[in-house]
Amino acid sequence: MSATTANPGRLDPEIRANKGKGKSSDRVLLAVIGYTLLTILALFCIFPFILIISSSLTEESSIIEHGFKIVPTQFSLEAYSILFKYPADMLKAYGVTISVTLIGTAVGLFLTSMTAYVLSRKDFKWRNHFSFFFFFTTLFSGGLVPWYLLIVNYLDLKDTLVVLIVPMLMNVFYIIVMKSFMSSIPEAITESAKIDGASDFLIFLKLIIPLSKPALATIGLFIALAYWNDWYHALLFISKSELMPLQYYLYRLLGNMDGMRKAMMQSGVAMNLDIPTESLKMAMTIVATGPILIAYPFIQRFFVQGLTIGAVKG
């Protein structure tokens, strides 16, 4: 299982890839193929983002006449200015998403790591029983319908903020990744703290958490990303507009510009105002993705590290 992490021959890819890079023809050929293919793939991955950014910056009339284009023919900030002129709904959606993400990540990360810690304790007699109890839920499930009815009819959580947070708090895969990270912390640390009279919870809080920072950062980012991008729980359980998270708000807007128009009229836009529907959709997409796009270059390396640590362990 740990073949990927503990290998004596492991060497930094930078060093290895550059090592002995001769001029032999096979290397040149591979370099040509490699750079070409990777460049094509990279363009393929980035192209759609360029497309929506430039569409959001294009004059509406130009879109209607000529369609979306890669380079804006008639540059315009109108879509953004409308979004920001009447930002009430969007700000509400932002507020919901930010609170859900903050609360969900904090609580979820705490519960995930606490559970993982207990399961990583080798002296805990029932750890395999409990591991199976959690793991089994990934093998078999009751399906959407009983889960839905439980939440709506029995727990009565429809149209609450709770329903956007609680069902996503824990994920077996994250518990497993965290557990395998914590298993690599030497047992001696726990033992000596115990001799000093520290309780299990204190050991977790004061020793294990500080030692698990890389895993906490990675899993925390994964949980945060899942909350930020969640629209599914809102699709199922939210009908009140003030509880709509950002992604669901975007989803509604994409599908239903008329609803958007109405909302804008209510929030004070003149009745006869021509709303630039197409560019507005794209501008809203950018705004909903914005923080991720901005934070992305900085957080990306944590994901890579975390993936490399926990890779192929689940």
């Binding site: 490699g34 759609p48 009751g142 009983p146 889960w147 839905y148 824990m170 629209w231 989803y251 490399t308």
Partner: protein, 306 residues
């Protein structure tokens, strides 16, 4: 005696057990209790009776699901899409990982990796918006491009035949970065001495890739394949729903079990049949996971899930 020991253990582990309590309650509530709700598949649901008070109706829900003709369509679509995703995505990710490792210089690799990983971070709703931008009949980029080279517009959102290709490409696009990093991690951990030995023996770079890199990442590849096969009857709801939505014209080639269950629950209110279809999916999924696990055991005992 045995009982006595149990209670003393209970006391010994009380702090750890207390720490496990939130997670146990969470999974009990959101995973195990819904499992009991499977009985719904055998009932005629009404809101007064709820899950447990509604009258039984035997296999009626299943019969209805099977006879509607949808069962075969959604099962076939779910399985075929997942098979295509598994094969194409993994191949592409492996090739990308090898190339990133073998040819790219530091700077180029960092930039490429960052760019390739970007699609993984955005929600399926945003992917839906991107699809709209590309495929919309009137203003979509694809039709703009087609008309600029003198071809007529294509009506993507009304033509079922285009969707298998589109969904496969979108899936590859979103998963490429994540998967290639997993494989890159596996490649990075290969013992360098093997490469050095091969080089001394005069192997060229292609031979090294084929004879050393590929065989060495095979265990990772096979495990990821088998795990993916265990999920072959689970559709990616976010993807299908945001790309296709409730567009009935496309169902013949886009409807998967997950979207079908969702639709029967929310739009047509066929709660019993929806539960039956969900149950059918769970059983199929459970059986394939057992089979995949059996295959993993045969291949490498240590890597089996259980």
């Amino acid at each position: 005696m045995k009982n006595y020991r149990f209670f003393s253990d209970l006391k010994k582990y009380r702090a750890l057990l207390l720490m496990l309590t939130p997670a146990v309650l969470f999974f009990l509530l959101f995973a195990y209790i819904p499992m009991a709700g499977i009985v719904l598949a055998f009932k005629q649901f009404n809101y007064q009776g709820g899950i447990f008070g509604s009258p039984w109706n035997g296999l009626e829900n299943f019969r209805f699901f099977m006879e509607s003709g949808d069962a075969w369509r959604v099962t076939r679509n779910t399985a075929l899409y997942n098979i295509a995703f598994i094969i194409i995505n993994n191949l592409l990710q492996i090739v990308t990982a090898i190339l990133l490792f073998e040819v790219a210089g530091k700077w180029f690799r960092k930039v490429t990796q960052t760019v390739l990983f970007l699609p993984y971070f955005i929600s399926w709703v945003v992917v839906g918006a991107i699809a709209y931008n590309l495929f919309n009949y009137d203003v979509g980029t694809l039709n703009v491009m087609l008309s600029s080279i003198g071809l007529g517009p294509v009506d993507i959102y009304n033509t079922a035949a285009y969707w298998p290709l589109i969904l496969i490409v979108v899936s590859a696009w979103k998963a490429l970065g994540y998967g290639s990093i997993m494989y890159l991690a596996a490649i990075t951990s290969i013992d360098t001495e093997m490469y050095e030995a091969a080089e001394i023996d005069g192997a060229n770079i292609f031979q090294r890739i084929l004879k050393i890199t590929v065989p060495n990442i095979m265990p990772t590849v096979i495990i990821l394949f088998l795990l993916a096969i265990g999920n072959i009857f689970r559709g990616d709801f976010g993807m299908f729903y945001n790309m296709v939505g409730n567009n009935g014209l496309l169902f013949s080639s886009t409807d998967v079990i997950d979207t079908y269950v969702f639709r029967s629950l929310t739009t047509s209110n066929e709660i019993g049949m929806s539960a039956a279809a969900g149950f059918y999916q769970s059983i199929l999924g459970f059986a394939t996971i057992l089979l995949a696990n059996y295959a993993v055991r045969k291949y490498d005992k240590d890597r089996a899930l259980f």
